[in-house]
């Protein structure tokens, strides 16, 4: 299937966004837009395939774009060194045929969800924490529920996971991000998503997979496209700077 006329928006270019970008590019998507506002840090390097030791301190957006262009000369890459927030979310989402959310905090994940539903663009949501990966596809034209149908709101600041919960086994992020990229390719090809209306969870030690149905919740404002954007505050575990609540 020729995807050269298609465009994918990828939020974050790290542990989830990185593999997703690589899979999308290898799958022949014509254009990727990546948005990422961090610099490359040492602790990123256990799991972020677009970055190496020589990139420490550099802006992730620029390094990711350069790496993608080197590997895939035919790919159009637009890199936004900026935070994905209420001021740009809908504009970015509307310009894409699919959105892959590799962000690392719940506020951004909810914003991506709300913007995708408002713009009527399918979204692949994912998260990884310790040895567990989770993926959900939110399809505005489908019958499944969205992130807010599943969780009505992000965790309150008091429920922020502590440092103890900030662990990530690197290749598990790679597994999740690659699956997210493959799912995005399916959606771009016009196929039904594998995770549409079903939250997929994989735990690496037990090797257990689960699929949980996510039904549309009656009255969900996000599904109706009327959820106000960017109202959820991002709780901060500042020094990790990969914030909280499901890292990437």
């Amino acid at each position: 299937m020729d995807l050269s006329t298609k465009s994918a928006l990828v939020v974050g270019a790290g542990g989830l966004g990185g593999p997703a970008l690589l899979v999308l590019a290898a799958g022949g998507v014509g254009r990727v837009v990546l948005i990422e506002d961090d610099a490359v840090e040492t602790s990123n390097l256990n799991r972020q395939p677009l970055f190496g030791e020589g990139d420490l301190g550099a802006r992730k957006a620029a390094v990711a774009a350069a790496r993608l262009r080197a590997l895939f000369p035919g790919l159009q890459v637009e890199a936004r060194d900026a935070r994905f927030d209420a001021s740009n979310a809908v504009e970015l989402v509307r310009a894409a045929d699919v959105v892959v959310d590799g962000s690392d905090n719940f506020a951004t994940k909810f914003l991506a969800n709300d913007a995708a539903m408002r713009a009527r663009i399918p979204l692949v949501h994912g998260g990884v924490l310790r040895t567990t990966a989770q993926i959900l596809t939110v399809a505005p034209a489908g019958i499944g529920g969205c992130l807010r149908c599943l969780f009505e709101a992000p965790p309150a600041p008091g429920e922020v996971p502590s440092c103890a919960q900030a662990g990530i086994l690197g290749p598990v992020a790679g597994f999740a991000g690659s699956l997210m990229g493959a799912e995005a390719l399916r959606l771009l090809a016009g196929e039904r998503g594998a995770y549409e209306g079903r939250l997929y969870t994989y735990e690496a030690r037990s090797a257990r997979s689960r699929l949980v149905l996510v039904r549309r919740r009656a009255g969900c404002a996000a599904c109706g496209g009327t959820q106000p954007l960017g109202v959820d505050e991002a709780p901060v575990c500042e020094a990790t700077s990969s914030r909280s609540g499901g890292t990437a």
């Binding site: 290898a26 799958g27 040492t42 395939p49 103890a164 086994l169 690197g170 290749p171 990229g181």
Partner: protein
């Protein structure tokens, strides 16, 4: 028995693997086991590339890339190889691409006769996969075998003493691999990292990854398979 691993992680390694060191069940000893491991990776094509990358990023101390072929046009536009690498020996090109990621890991072409502590098999043909897996089994090395099939495929995990790859493998070759097979490679890397870092916690198991979902089942020894015989002296 060479290469006694360091007794403790230095500050650079603690910072590099900070996120992994926080995972319950992993810690300094687990990370040191990874640092002390010599992993032979059989196959370095586009399918194997993500596995190689994740093993390096997870902190495997020494990677031996076992692949006699050159980078093919179909390998360009993968996780490791640009178009400029086409025609170069794959083992060399992989080693160079991976060295750029991390100076804390050593990546070399596989030395003939080298004895790995663990093996990842991502060979292009079933016959090569069986051969490589059998070599690992005889060396007592835990190993993981990748069978790509379109954007999914199968993985067989073989800790020491478990049913061998031959007992659990698929009967034929899969369809040509697609980019989504990177997930399979990442899963194989995960299994191998767990086998090395947390020995004894991973049973023999086979995964089938189809349309983005992995199903797993324990491997079962085929009656009469040589892998069930008592080990002979090395």
């Amino acid at each position: 028995m060479s290469g006694i691993p360091p007794a403790a992680l230095d500050d650079a390694r603690v910072a590099r693997w900070a996120r992994q060191l926080l995972v319950p069940g992993l810690g300094e000893q687990a990370q040191l086991r990874l640092a002390g491991a010599r992993v032979r990776v059989v196959g370095a094509d586009a399918v194997a590339a993500p596995a190689l990358l994740y093993l390096v990023q997870a902190g495997v101390g020494k990677l031996w890339v076992d692949d006699p072929e050159t980078v093919a046009p179909v390998d360009a536009g993968s996780w490791l190889y640009t178009g400029a690498e086409v025609g170069r020996p794959r083992a060399e090109a992989a080693a160079e691409a991976l060295a750029r990621l991390s100076g804390l890991v050593s990546v070399e072409p596989y030395p003939t006769g080298g004895v790995p502590t663990a093996t990842l098999v991502a060979a292009p043909s079933p016959a090569q996969a069986v051969h490589a897996a059998e070599a690992a089994r005889r060396a007592g090395a835990p190993h993981v075998v990748v069978e790509a099939d379109g954007d999914g495929g199968a993985i067989v995990t073989v800790p020491p003493g478990a049913p061998c790859y031959n007992c659990a493998r698929s009967s034929g070759a899969g369809r040509p691999p697609l980019p989504g097979a990177a997930a399979l490679a990442a899963l194989a890397a995960t299994e191998l990292v767990l086998l090395i870092a947390s020995p004894g916690t991973v049973p023999g198991r086979r995964f089938d990854v189809v349309r983005g979902v992995a199903t797993v089942r324990p491997t079962v020894r085929l009656p009469g398979c040589a892998c069930g015989a008592a080990p002979t002296a090395a």
